[in-house]
């Protein structure tokens, strides 16, 4: 498997070489070279900011196509929580579930049901004081990768519990294999996804060896079909759904609301999350019990592969999550079974990613820092991005690392061009 598989990729044909993505990448993982953007693979955390800001739709997310269903005898769809926000609140959701089934699936499992399971796990976790505070939610894979790259000292704060997507896949697949007496390779599990980072997590999972999922199909690629099929669908089948609180996980603050934790902090938008993680790292928020940080504005409803406006979708999710509905209560025994079969916890250690390190030899790294300081001093400090690096300081780093040169800076280039004629040719 590719060590650096990323769902977020660039379509070179469409790329215009502008600086929109360059300036917005939260970890300076993009450069523009020869009028085309390049994503530095080791750095990318798949947050999808570049997909959102690209005016030419050149940044995109690789997802599976519905064709892949042919590879399996039996196909399971995991219905994402954020999909509830893509339809008006009076929509008969059973018809939407049926519409997805009609795309070629044999079984469908609501991610919100797995969110209900994780809610119970987190409730128990918060009762124990062993974990360092605040406990950081493991829901958002882009934030997990961000912590590995920029906040490695907070790795121990992360709740080592699987995401609802993965738990949904495990529960559904195990159930189907048992019920239909099928071997693992005959059953395909697909996430209907709003999120490129989730796609990456299927190929390169965090905290586990291997994902139960076989692929992810983006919401935007099948939305039209869902709407068409939902209009024709009968609603005689009632599908099992998550509780209102489980559905509420799709918006920022929804996890904390579901858990019922009082002393929490919920932050959306990756730049905002970075600022709060800085505060946590300084030890200023040790009195907070639970932190949910989500890369997308609004939470998962703001995922770049959704179709609805995130604020409208978020408002719908809020309404749904406050329904005092008749959802089935999850028994303690059921959760205990899941613990025992190993469906809940992460099994693998999370390591820091030292991709920002300039050199493995500290003395050489120190020399490089000095040279970066010297170069940065003579650059104009405008952070215009015309050189192809996101800031003047980033260009200085690129030069020292051998990935750039001083005359990539158009101001230095112009200065050099005019230098012998600075007296006006007198």
């Amino acid at each position: 498997m590719n060590k650096y598989f990323h769902s977020v990729v660039l379509d070179e044909e469409k790329c215009n070489g502008c600086t929109n993505c360059l300036k917005r990448c939260p970890i300076e993982a993009i450069r523009v070279k020869n009028k085309k953007a390049i994503i530095i693979e080791e750095r990318c955390i798949d947050c999808g900011e570049c997909i959102r800001v690209c005016p030419y739709h050149a940044q995109k997310s690789i997802t599976s196509s519905i064709e892949m269903l042919k590879d399996f005898e039996f196909n399971i769809a995991i219905f994402p929580m954020s999909l509830y926000g893509q339809f008006s609140v009076d929509t008969n959701m059973d018809k939407v579930f049926q519409a997805i089934m009609d795309l070629g699936f044999d079984y469908i499992y609501d991610e919100a049901r797995a969110a209900d399971i994780v809610t119970e796990v987190l409730k128990n976790m918060l009762k124990e004081d062993k974990l360092p505070r605040p406990i950081i939610s493991s829901l958002c894979p882009a934030i997990l990768r961000l912590i590995q790259v920029r906040f490695p000292s907070l790795i121990d704060n992360i709740a080592r519990v699987e995401s609802p997507m993965e738990i949904a896949a495990r529960v559904a697949k195990n159930e189907i294999m048992k019920r239909n007496n099928l071997s693992s390779d005959k059953v395909g599990v697909f996430f209907i996804t709003q999120c490129p980072a989730k796609v990456t997590s299927i190929v390169n999972p965090i905290g586990i060896k291997e994902s139960y999922l076989d692929g992810a199909i983006s919401i935007e690629s099948i939305y039209g079909d869902i709407v068409k099929k939902a209009n024709q669908a009968k609603d005689d089948v009632k599908f099992s759904k998550g509780s209102p609180e489980g559905i509420g996980w799709a918006r920022v603050g929804g996890q904390s609301y579901a858990i019922g934790v009082d002393n929490y902090l919920a932050v959306d938008g990756i730049e905002n999350v970075i600022k709060v993680l800085e505060e946590i790292e300084l030890g200023k928020l040790n009195n907070v019990d639970f932190f949910e940080g989500l890369a997308c504005i609004g939470g998962c409803v703001g995922g770049p592969l959704n179709v609805e406006n995130p604020f409208i979708a978020k408002s719908r999710i809020r309404k749904l999550s406050q329904n005092k509905g008749s959802s089935e209560k999850i028994s303690k025994e059921y959760i205990d079974d899941l613990y025992n079969e190993g469906s809940i916890w992460w099994t693998e250690k999370i390591y820091p990613k030292s991709i920002m390190t300039l050199d493995s030899n500290i003395r050489k790294a120190m020399e490089k820092i000095e040279r970066i300081k010297e170069i940065a001093k003579i650059l104009p400090g405008l952070d215009c991005g015309s050189c192809g690096s996101p800031t003047c300081n980033a260009l200085a780093e690129d030069i020292v690392q051998g990935h750039g040169k001083i005359y990539d800076c158009i101001f230095k280039l112009r200065e050099n061009f005019y230098k012998d004629f600075s007296d006006g040719g007198k």
Binding site: S153, E278, S354, M356, L358, I362, M366, I369
Partner: protein, 148 residues
Amino acid sequence: MTNKSNAINLEFNVMKDDFSRAGEASSKIKKILTQLGIVSSVTRRVAIATYEAEMNIAIHSLGGKIEVTINPNEIIIIAVDNGPGIEDVKLAMQEGYSTATNKIRELGFGAGMGLPNMKKCSDEFDIVSKKGKGTKVFMRISLDSKPV
């Protein structure tokens, strides 16, 4: 440039009551230590120590500066301010003791943890203060844990 001995020297001025900029030194140092490949636990201690020093200068003093020297085996942080000086250093080192005004406390600062935190984060800590002159804090954090 005192660069002859393989050291990186950094200096940050901290102004009185300048809360919008306090924290800048800490985050700049954190970035450099990350680029040097220093283990995150050490980087975090340096960041906290510098941050608390910055806040102390901004809250309590008439202004001052923070000097950081990064060697391949240790980091030295020296925070100096221009007064007014601490009346009773021993008392100031006690957790929870603070002379911060109510206004400052309402902002969430001045919990009396600054100096104790700085000490906790350092391998070696020293403080001298003279009424009417100023305060100087010395902190050494060793890098003996090798980068991963």
